[in-house]
């Protein structure tokens, strides 16, 4: 009883003290320095024509496997957005940003999902270089292409374009490294940038040793490549014709590849070599008025992977090797009509139309050239901070282990809600 009384008295004093001292009068108050904070949530209801168990075993032959659903890799569970039938809590994204001093700003994007917390982005950006120069360091989304730099909640569809996801994985090009961009002093927009990145993309790049000798002592390890091992360059330009804006870009990446799938249950393998990725993007947006617009967005990706593929014998752990080159290309094209501030509708066409795989030995790779996907969506936003989207897509790019095409129909009802600081997006 005494304790309760004491606690109550203490509370009362505290409350009283708070009354006496408003925030702005506290001697060492630092509340004015709190960075801009926002929290974005994304959740969805998914209905897919293929079961969750089946969908994880489907692959884009010769390009990628385990694209949809969740899978284990390196002891961690990876799940794409909208992985399961039924309800999905895709993520909560905590964004903090502020200026550091007169010379830098800092941004942090923390991605909370049922699989854990990841530092999605954490970087500082220069503000004082002048002459159109801007430098960035830390972990960030590469400015390669158009879509890559944008966060999921800024996309016009609930999922990534097929070619992006198949070539680069669900995180896209999200790396630790440094970036320098230069905007030219031209009357129209012209920007060139280079990035040096660590190079650890799960689908295409990598530099770690692949320990094949651990599987069988007679195997030689695939040696590592000294990091950083990924180099990105791009040029972007934009101009306006009345109320129509055209933005076009060319991008290029080259890097080493060390892809370690030796622990896969089905057909364990590894790849080591050099990869190049070329990108071309074109966005045309016409604004009818302040709230209504038509946006046509296109990207073409072409990749050239050249190296050695190791096939692991599941019984003996022995790794056989062959020379392999992959020349693959795909594109997406989407058209989004913003009817007014509340409603948007859109269509998207996805295709991987080139899938040439050459091997030095063994049977020819199964690599179909007609991989496509069709999506439509309609969204309703109650305000800039809450958006509900209904999306339907038909994916004809996935095949089962027997090499039979498994067309997937998916309906996604997505809710994307944010609170806190007002997010302003670039074009």
């Amino acid at each position: 009883m005494k304790k309760i009384l004491l606690a109550t008295a203490l509370c009362a004093t505290l409350i009283h003290a708070a009354d006496v001292l408003p925030v702005e009068k506290r001697t060492f108050d630092q509340s004015k320095y709190i960075p801009d904070i926002s929290l974005v949530m994304d959740a969805s209801y998914v209905s897919r024509s293929v079961s969750d168990d089946e969908v994880v075993h489907l692959e884009v032959p010769g390009v990628a496997h385990g694209l949809i659903g969740s899978h284990e890799h390196g002891g961690e569970t990876h799940a794409t957005y909208n992985a399961d039938n039924g309800f999905n809590l895709n993520y909560a994204e905590l964004v903090l940003s502020s200026s550091v001093d007169p010379f830098f700003t800092m941004d942090g994007v923390f991605h909370f999902s049922p699989n854990g917390v990841h530092v999605e982005e954490l970087f500082f950006t220069s503000t004082a270089l002048g002459n159109g120069l801007r430098a960035k360091g830390g972990k960030f989304n590469s400015n390669f292409g158009y879509l890559n730099e944008q966060h999921h909640h800024a996309w016009d569809f609930a999922d990534m374009p097929l070619v992006y996801e198949a070539f680069l994985g669900m995180h896209g090009l999200n790396e630790v490294g440094a970036q320098i961009q230069w905007t030219a002093p031209t009357p129209f927009y012209l920007m060139a940038g280079v990035e040096v990145l660590q190079g650890e993309n799960e689908q295409m790049f990598g530099n770690n040793t692949i320990h094949l000798s651990e599987l069988n002592a007679s195997n030689a390890d695939v040696t590592y490549e000294k990091a950083p091992s990924m180099f990105v360059g791009y040029v972007k330009t934009s101009f306006d014709i009345e109320d129509t804006t055209v933005l076009a870009g060319l991008s290029y990446i080259q890097g080493s590849s060390r892809i370690d799938h030796t622990e896969d249950e089905e057909e364990p393998h590894a790849f080591s070599g050099d990869s190049k990725l070329y990108g071309a993007d074109l966005v045309i947006k016409h604004a009818f008025d302040s709230y209504s617009s038509l946006k046509w967005q296109n990207e073409l990706l072409y990749r050239d992977m050249d190296g050695i593929q190791y096939g692991i014998n599941t019984a003996t752990g022995f790794a056989g090797s062959i020379d392999i080159t992959k020349k693959q290309a795909g594109l997406y094209s989407q058209l989004i009509y913003a009817i007014d501030r509340n409603y948007k509708v859109g269509v998207r066409y996805d295709s991987i139309f080139k899938n040439d795989i050459e091997k030095s030995a063994g049977e020819a790779a199964f690599a179909p050239h007609d991989l496509d996907k069709y999506s439509v969506m309609a969204e309703y936003s109650t305000s800039e901070f809450a958006r509900f989207r209904l999306q339907y897509d038909r994916n004809n790019a996935m095949f089962n282990e027997e090499g039979n095409r498994q067309s997937i129909d998916t309906i996604i009802l997505q809710a994307n809600i944010s609170i806190g600081a007002h997010g302003a997006h670039s074009f």
Binding site: F188, S238, Y291
Partner: protein
């Protein structure tokens, strides 16, 4: 050799006037009036579109990149579009808190500062109503602010800026009197608006906004609110609906049909309408619009 240097420097001195990026056309007009031939203005937003929603086109990054200064409205009117442009342009001269960065809202006493700031109340501006340039008296304060700003950047032409400001002050003060006389007969009139962007104009001339077509700031009209508004109009008999140029007049027309209250289009900036191509014609139009 000396001649060669002179030849090199000559074109530079000819181009030596400052390039000043401004967020909205009205700021460009005041700045040009004060800066005259010593400055170039680069206007980022268009006058006929919603000032809250400007598409951050990459061409604007190119414009900001080479600017010597940036003047913005402030009070969070640009919050949805200017920050990424400032960030992308990476121009030290257009960074907030740079000597060459001017936030006009800090020099005006804002009205309607909300007591509670919460998004359940719509897209409220926490610092107060940001559409302060539509009171003619405020234009004088802004002109004085810009004069001081230009002098701070380019003291060499101090006298020119002072002279231009003095001339602007005399001319504008005369106009203020004319507009006051023109508007005197409307004092006390009740009006409806779409969004309260005429708060300062109405304040200046004693017009009273009794309702808005949007139920809350930034929230599009709802049928429930429209019905309530029609009821309110029938009770209070406002003289007109003052409508901005960028929202659809569909709901206003419906209300007008039901109540007989007429709709008057009110431009909010230079270029909002064909006939408002400079600051004076903007206010001539606004003060003449109510009959």
């Amino acid at each position: 050799m000396r001649h060669f240097f002179l030849l090199l420097i000559l074109p530079l001195t000819l181009l030596a006037h400052m390039s000043i990026a401004v967020s909205y056309p009205y700021i460009g007009a005041i700045t040009k009036s004060i800066g005259g031939e010593h400055i170039d203005t680069v206007v980022l937003a268009k006058g006929n579109w919603d000032p809250h929603f400007v598409i951050p086109r990459p061409s604007l990054i190119a414009k900001m990149r080479s600017a010597d200064a940036l003047i913005m409205n402030g009070a969070q009117l640009e919050i949805g579009w200017l920050p990424p442009l400032i960030n992308r342009a990476a121009n030290p001269k257009t960074q907030p808190n740079a000597k060459s960065f001017l936030n006009l809202s800090q020099h005006i006493e804002l009205i309607h500062k909300p007591k509670d700031v919460d998004r359940s109340g719509g897209d409220v501006h926490p610092d107060g109503n940001p559409h302060f340039h539509l009171a003619p008296e405020n234009i004088l304060i802004l002109a004085k602010t810009i004069e001081e700003f230009l002098i701070s950047l380019d003291v060499e032409h101090k006298e020119v800026y002072e002279k231009n400001y003095a001339a602007f002050h005399i001319e504008w003060s005369k106009n203020i009197e004319l507009w006051k006389n023109k508007m005197a007969k409307h004092e006390g009139q009740k009006v409806i608006q779409f969004h309260d962007n005429l708060a300062y104009f109405n304040n200046a001339y004693g017009l009273k906004t009794i309702g808005t077509i949007e139920p809350l700031p930034g929230i599009p009209p709802s049928s429930k609110h429209t019905i309530e508004l029609i009821k309110l109009i029938n009770e209070q008999k406002p003289s007109c609906i003052l409508h901005d140029v960028y929202h659809s007049t569909k709901t206003a027309e419906f209300i007008s049909e039901k109540t007989g209250v007429k709709i008057i289009l009110m431009p909010h900036d230079i270029g909002s309408l064909e006939s408002t191509q400079d600051l004076k014609s903007l206010f001539d139009y606004l003060t003449g619009a109510l009959q």
